[in-house]
Amino acid sequence: MKAERGIYLIIGTFFFVITVIYFLWSGEAGGTIMLFAAAGLGIMPGLYMAWWARRMAPRPEDRPDATLAEGSGPVGAFPANTIWPFVFGIGAAFTGLSLVWGVWLAVIGIGFILSTAINVSLESRRGGSV
């Protein structure tokens, strides 16, 4: 966790310094705001990971001498097959096309998206099957 924390914090600090330099030198608002947001993108997850890194012993993947057996046990439930990402994709495309060809497409698209939301929740409860 310590390496990951370091990467985020280095990036965030770098952007923060650049933000200050850019603001003081140019005084331009748009770029300053975007750079500041980029600094936040580094610092926020960095601090979250720093918080955890202090409270956790190093994970097997953080220790150079870890054996493979230490990583055994469930890694997570990986669904093998599911149709719902496809349905969601079609729904999102219809909703997007409604910006071009009219709201009626959004009605169809949001229907697809809602059905995905419902079915993915049910799928997770049943255990990831199609």
Partner: protein, 566 residues
């Protein structure tokens, strides 16, 4: 060694191996990172062929002065969609959708990506986004015709009416969300699904580069999506964010777009740098030279690339020239470090010029040339003279074609045996390289000269009196040669498919974990893993006498055992 068996138990009953759907239904429903990665790769190659065909049309139009092969409006549509497809639909998704999806979990010893369903969703958003972009050609007013950068005020509702520009906006939004979801997946997978012993500083450089690409996507793409929403609101709801008439600022679009656009260039480049860094050590029979230097160069590129956006806007007169010029010149330093480490890896190695290595050497040649002209363009006085000329066109084609095609096809040939379990025909692959390399240089080196003679980009016609004819003819012939090269590639793939030669699990004597599994890998990737004690676990397993961990300056093998609660 038992890790994977136990991982398989965590899968819900009865779906891992039996009831596996086949054919089209598998393609629609799979959440396996390997199938999604292959889908990404095939889809992006289809878009590459379509956009490449558009390039042929563009070059045909420019073959002669006062040519009327296509109308000026069609020409504008062609270069817009050619650029948009190559950048949004080919180069990026080919790398961070295709290669990263397929290779990254294998290289870190993971069973899948962290969010398999999100992964599938990002593929479908990408496909629908790509189709949406192409739909523009079937509308009455034609596709978007304002260049892939869509500068205001050209992109306003008055100057670019019709459905085509709107379809372009929607398409980029969908593809943008797809990219963001993939980035979330890549970063999370790298942080949380590594095999035991695979510390951050043992990750293959390809994984490092994909992870940093993910961070850059998270910085850049949301800005673009926000800008596109503003553009849409301007076009349809009468807002005036980008129009002077209502008190808006047209240059704001350029600021927002390039804040995305410049990191995007590195989003396209970094994954391919990663592939190069995988291929060079394997075919030089040496570990990578300067591992930590490469990692920090990658992070430095990520940081600096976010601070250089306005070097695309030097001629607007509204940007802080010294800041952006200095940052743009600085970014050449980490990029130079990378080129130096690749050459350092080859230095005194046993270099074997198999086809992946040939493509990579071609990449280093072409990319270095494009990079050096990039340093020239970072100096405002030179940029003022060459802005919006063919000099810039030649520069970015050398950079982007160099990465996405030379390095990309190097990676494609390198991992093709792993992905399909079949070998390609080496002679045809070498022919593909040489024809591409010659065709590419014949196409783009004359364009530098055209740019220095003053030929502006994005013009459909020029006059005989401009004296651009000869160089344009050479360039067009080069483009046809490059096009022919891809027919050789397709023939190679066809032969390999119809008359397969079985590939072994580790045909190149590779170094990283993907070569420890079967070709193609089984459903959850690994039956067994070698112990991970260095940056090259598979090399260590196959060559224990030269193992990296036996190396006296190895930093990790002599560490005392640390015991901690999990």
């Amino acid at each position: 060694m038992t890790i994977l068996e136990e991982q398989l138990e965590s899968h819900p009953e009865g779906q891992a191996h039996h009831d596996e759907p086949r054919g089209l239904y598998l393609w629609l429903t799979s959440t396996d990172h390997k199938i999604i990665g292959k889908n990404y790769m095939y889809t992006s190659l289809v878009f590459f062929i379509i956009a490449g065909a558009m390039a042929m049309l563009i070059r045909t139009q420019l073959f002669s002065p006062n040519n009327h092969f296509v109308s000026p409006q069609t020409y504008n549509e062609l270069f817009t969609i050619h650029g948009s497809m190559m950048l949004y639909l080919f180069a990026g998704p080919f790398a961070f959708g295709g290669f990263a999806n397929y290779i990254l979990p294998l290289q870190i010893g993971a069973p899948d990506m962290a969010f398999p369903r999100l992964n599938a969703l990002s593929y479908w958003l990408y496909v629908t986004g790509g189709i949406t972009m192409l739909l523009g050609f079937f509308t009455a007013s034609g596709a978007a015709a304002f260049g892939w950068v869509a500068y205001a005020p050209l992109s306003s509702a008055t100057n670019s009416p019709g459905a085509g520009p709107d379809l372009w906006i929607v398409s980029i939004m969908l593809v943008g969300f797809s990219g963001i979801f993939t980035a979330v997946n890549l970063v999370t997978t790298t942080f949380y699904l590594r095999a035991p012993g695979m510390t951050m500083f043992r990750l293959p450089i390809f994984v490092w580069n994909m992870f940093v690409t993910g961070l850059l996507i998270l910085i850049a793409f949301p800005v673009l999506t926000a800008a596109l929403i503003m553009l849409y609101v301007d076009r349809h709801f009468g807002a005036h964010v980008f129009s002077v008439a209502g008190g808006g600022i047209p240059v704001l679009w350029q600021n927002l777009f390039w804040f995305f656009g410049h990191p995007e260039v590195y989003i396209l480049a970094l994954p391919f740098f990663g592939m190069v860094t995988e291929i060079v050590p394997v075919f030089s029979r040496k570990p990578v030279f300067g591992y930590k230097g490469l990692v920090f160069a990658t992070l430095a590129i990520a940081g600096l690339s976010t601070g250089v956006w306005a070097h695309h806007m030097f001629t607007t007169g509204t940007v802080l020239l010294p800041f952006f010029s200095a940052m743009s010149l600085l970014i050449a330093v980490p990029t130079g470090i990378k080129i130096f480490t690749w050459i350092g890896t080859m230095w005194k190695g046993q270099v074997e010029f198999r086809s992946p290595m040939l493509f990579v050497v071609g990449f280093i040649f072409v990319f270095t040339m494009g990079g050096i002209t990039g340093v020239l363009l970072a100096a405002p006085p030179i940029d003022f003279a060459t802005h919006d000329t063919y000099f810039v066109v030649a520069h970015f084609h050398q950079v982007l074609f160099g990465t996405a095609v030379f390095a990309g096809f190097g990676g494609f040939y390198y991992w093709y045996p792993k992905m399909t379990g079949r070998m390609f025909r080496e002679n045809l692959a070498k022919l593909h390289f040489w024809v591409t390399f010659i065709g590419f240089n014949v196409t783009f080196l004359p364009q530098y000269l055209l740019g220095l003679k003053g030929m502006p980009r994005r013009i459909a016609e020029y006059l005989p009196a401009d004296h651009y004819t000869t160089l344009n003819r050479i360039s067009t012939i080069g483009a046809y040669i490059t096009g022919a090269a891809f027919i050789i590639w397709m023939a190679n793939m066809w032969i390999s498919w119809r008359k397969p030669i079985k590939a072994s699990d580790n045909p190149w004597d590779g170094h990283t974990l993907e070569w420890a599994t079967t070709s193609p890998p089984s459903h959850h990737n690994f039956e067994k893993l070698p112990p991970i004690r260095s940056q090259r676990p598979v090399w260590d397993m196959n060559h224990p006498e030269y193992a990296d961990w036996a190396n006296p300056d190895g930093h990790d093998s002599s560490q005392p055992e640390k015991v901690g609660e999990r």
